[in-house]
Chain length 197, copies 2
DNA sequence: GTCTATATCAGGATAGAC
DNA sequence: GTCTATCCTGATATAGAC
């Protein structure tokens, strides 16, 4: 059964809301802000959505389904361990490029949203993300291509943090493409910034 | 002239507020939350402070004066370029350990606070922080101890992000001391995670 | 230095008309 | 699908008593 025409409007409104949530924060964005940006009145929003929470909920769920599907594909794929890790980093920077607002919301608002029961799935996603990176790292260590003298947990946090925090400054159309950023980040992560003569 | 006794109470209240701002966010912490945590009523807070904004203002100013003083000392000091960079990283992790709340507030709330005129000095601090890291990196490159094939701006962001974002997960008394975390992070940053046989 | 009491306002949400 | 009108709650801040 085809999506009704109103789904388009729904997605428009969600995109507007996502932009505001990402820029100003969830709590700090009012339903009136969203309605203003959409050119309607705040009451009209409730024809489309139950609540402000429902909006951010739908935004995050859609985004995460896509992202984690990509990670699973990489792990299940047949690249060698190092290439898998590199691919996961590249996909993450692609995601920042393609879903900037959603990534920013997840980064900045997850802690707050987790205080509500309906967002407890975010904790599960965090757990899943940790699994992905630990699996990739352990694969590289087992294959002998990654250092085995580092604390795995710290290394995982280092990678996760450096990848996602880039959403705070990356803007499409800036000095570097997301591909170039991924390339340089991987170069630092893999080889370090120390110069060996 | 000695600080009046009431300064102690003032600092107590600021420490309580800082903890809440760091944990729940500035906007999401109410003056009643702060008063509750202090065991007084919300109206009583206004005997000590003009407004909620004044509280976060004082918290950030005190903290930043100390932190940037340390960076200036490092740059003005006589360590070699690599040691200066390492020292700046170590000092940053020490700061996360010692002033967790303040770092978290600066990390999470600066963007929002910058929308108010009274917090425009935060933009200046960001500029200053960029200067510090760029100076340290350029010093290392000029001395031939750091790679010169990386984009300086990206490298700066990589380091800055990696260092400060650790405040989101670091807790004193956890599995690793801040010194150990700094050591491992520096090892990744300088040498990379690639294993060279 | 804290409390009582309260002014004032903004924000989320609803009901029913158009 | 949007608007009008409005309810209700919770938040910052104030004034003056204790």
């Amino acid at each position: 059964m085809p999506e009704p025409v109103s789904a388009t409007r729904r997605e428009e409104l969600l995109a507007i809301a996502a932009g505001l949530f990402a820029e100003k924060g969830f709590k700090n964005t009012t339903v009136r802000d969203i309605a203003d940006a959409a050119g309607i009145l705040s009451g009209s929003l409730y024809h489309h959505f139950d609540s402000k929470e429902s909006m951010v909920d739908e935004i995050l769920q859609t985004f995460q389904t896509e992202l984690f599907g990509q990670y699973e594909d990489i792990i299940a794929g047949d690249l060698d361990p190092l290439a898998k890790l590199e691919r996961a980093v590249v996909v993450s920077f692609e995601t920042i490029d393609k879903h900037r607002d959603e990534v920013a919301i997840f980064q900045n608002e997850a802690a707050y949203l987790l205080t509500f029961d309906r967002f407890s799935y975010l904790a599960e996603r965090n757990r899943q993300s940790r699994e992905v990176w630990l699996t990739l790292l352990q694969g590289g260590i087992d294959a002998g291509v990654l250092r085995d003298d580092l604390d795995l947990e710290l290394t995982y946090r280092f990678i996760r943090d450096t990848v996602w925090v880039a959403v705070s400054w990356y803007r499409p159309g800036g000095r570097h493409t997301h591909t170039e950023i991924a390339r340089q980040y991987l170069s630092i992560l893999l080889e370090g910034i120390h110069h060996h003569a």
